[in-house]
Point group: C2
């Protein structure tokens, strides 16, 4: 039997054991993992170094190597995140609804763990600890499939987690690493409906696309963000500029930063110079439409491709629009249904924007950068869902739960 | 452009129009469809006759032909179901959560329609009306892809729906039939992520499997039910027998009927004869394990395959087990996570059963036949979900909705 199937079977058995554990047993296990990470920091860093050396020898890009790097501070941060998690409420075991039927049946809808979660991710070893802890907290077993470039770090981290789990009341098979990082194994994982309840990809667009395209296991799609700020005619100029700067430059590499600004014509006439100049001053490369290009002939002229691109960098497209309707149409055509903002003083335009824009998070007079489980007050984040089933927007712990109906009778049969 | 893409684009545009309509406008449209169905009954029956004649000429199995047949009563039933639907509350536009953040951001989680739903189904023309009305009620646009054998009935029904929609305030493109019933078109539909928000298969196991296997559009999986009744040692004999008879014979062709009975040894010793005899008397063909076979050598001996099979017919497998633990293991190994019942007077065994059996609906001392949106009091049913994401068990109108976050600020930016 392949490694994958052997471990999948073990994960399924672990679920039945996990479901009998109390939240304090789960929290204790999280605390043990936090302690063990600190204790075994030298070992983790030593194994992490092997991955870094491999990556450098293989000539990997600096930014990729950077994602691989663990250090004392990063491990401390992981341990702290684990401790924070112990303070959050259990999303499972809650009664969501109680229905008493005329025939006397008592129906309860109760939250339960999802079961076995497949986590497929790229070269960030911190995801190994993050995903494991979120799954344990919610009573799920997890099969981790990281990338080959992080294999030594991942093995080390999972061995540390196992050491901690052995001291705890939870089964060690709750967390397992698939060590075979071949593409064939990933392809098998995509189709493992018999054992997996859900598959969560974490990483770049290509990975997520591959999973969505090929998986038959239900997928929690997270990720891509082609987000916009629309500056309406009545927008406060300073507020609009502050929000655009924040949404573009505070951290351009993340999904809730913006890629295009839409500017209403009348506002543009008054304030576009100020906006363009400050963006250039902040080092943002601009791609502008014909109208703005006439004022700033030295800027790049935007092409169709610019409206579609998630730059994830200090690049921003700017387009003038005739009003809210055109802005909404542009966003619904090119946006990735992630986070969209309108800056305006018109309540009517806010209403249209909120009603008609199809996205997970819609903002009035605030930066799109707030789309985040921690900023929303969830205390944890699985990712940001850009699909509409199960969970949409920032996902906290409840996104890793499902429900079952429990029906109590006295011999009722159906007529 | 292909028919599919043209209609998918229209559906996407219809969504933006639909979202501005009030629930009374939607209910009015449903009422218009109900009226139009009654008014155009002769036309519908005439077109339906063409499908029936084709099917008979092609030598289709009687049970398949039966599914195709519409008559006055069936059309009246459809119209009545439409009227019933107008009385149900709107699952969209509701505020699920309000979060006020320390930075002053006001976050609301609001329910919204899913968007464009792809419905793929087999030779039951009633699904055309049923799916359309559930989607309209919930503000969704629908692309219907029925089978070629029902094409004339489906075209007639959709033209009747369009006639009614033209009188209403809703866009007629809210409901569209894909008339090209080729496999290629179905395969394209599976991958239409750009336009479809969700795909719902309704039909037999093969159809559902094909959709789950090949679709990249998120799927609401409904269907297969390999359900069990477990009779525990302390079970009331009459209650146990009544429930087994009901769960097997009241309507064996549906997913919430049972396929296997598990009987605890001590109970079997006392009562298995009575149970077996009454089942045979009711015309149920039995497949039994070695223990029972010794008492009834004329019965078929069950094979591994029997534990896996959803007979959907007057056939039942029976297996003796040593107790609740073995029963739970058997169910978790062979069940399809649909509906499972325990008959017992032991509260402890109920607790274990409820906690450890992984299924959408768990019963204590009641028939599995109650797993149904109407029996649960939902007033409508999209299907019964056997997956764990989004919705599990009987799905009422809320399963056709999603949510979005609406965030109101005063210029907040992220530090």
């Amino acid at each position: 039997m392949s490694e994958l199937i052997t471990k999948a079977k073990k994960a399924k058995r672990a679920v039945t054991d996990l479901i009998t554990k109390s939240i304090s047993q789960k929290n204790q296990a999280l605390q043990f993992i936090a302690d063990q990470l600190i204790q075994d920091t030298p070992y983790i860093l030593q194994e992490n170094k092997r991955d870094i050396e491999h990556a450098q020898a293989a000539g990997l890009h600096d930014s990729l190597v950077d994602r691989l790097i663990l250090n004392e501070q990063r491990i401390k941060d992981m341990a702290e995140a684990l401790e924070q998690l112990t303070f959050l409420p259990d999303p499972t075991g809650n009664v969501l609804e109680t229905l008493k039927r005329p025939n006397g049946l008592m129906i309860e809808k109760v939250t339960v763990p999802l079961g076995v979660i497949g986590m497929i991710y790229e070269a960030r070893p911190n995801v190994t600890v993050d995903a494991s802890s979120l799954c344990l907290k919610t009573g799920n077993a997890v099969l981790l499939r990281g990338s080959s470039s992080a294999i030594h770090s991942n093995k080390a981290l999972v061995s540390v987690i196992h050491k901690a789990l052995e001291k705890s009341d939870l089964p060690t098979d709750s967390v397992q690493l698939i060590e075979d990082t071949s593409r064939d194994t990933a392809a098998q994982l995509f189709k493992l409906n018999e054992y997996l309840d859900v598959l969560i990809p974490r990483g770049g667009k290509a990975l997520i696309q591959a999973v969505v395209e090929h998986a038959s296991v239900p997928v929690l799609e997270t990720g891509a963000g082609n987000c916009h700020v629309f500056i309406d005619e009545s927008a406060d100029p300073q507020m609009a500029i502050d929000i655009v700067l924040n949404a573009k430059t505070q951290r351009p590499s993340v999904c809730n930063s913006i890629e295009t600004v839409l500017v209403e014509e009348a506002w543009a006439k008054e304030h576009i110079k100020e906006l363009v100049e400050i963006l250039i001053e902040r080092g943002v490369e601009l791609r502008v439409d014909q109208n703005i290009h006439e004022l700033f002939p030295s800027l790049f002229l935007a092409t169709e491709e610019d409206w579609q691109t998630e730059y994830l960098n200090y690049i921003l497209a700017i387009k003038t629009v005739r009003g809210t309707t055109e802005a909404i149409e542009h966003i619904n055509q090119y946006g990735s249904k992630h986070s969209e903002a309108i800056i305006t003083e018109s309540e009517e335009n806010v209403r249209s924007f909120f009603q008609l824009v199809d996205a997970a998070a819609l903002y009035h007079n605030a930066s799109t950068r707030f789309t985040d489980g921690f900023e929303f007050g969830f205390g944890a984040e699985i990712g940001i869902s850009t699909q509409k089933l199960h969970a949409r927007g920032p996902m906290g712990l409840p996104a890793l739960s499902s429900s079952k109906y429990i029906i109590k009778g006295k011999g009722q049969i159906r007529e």
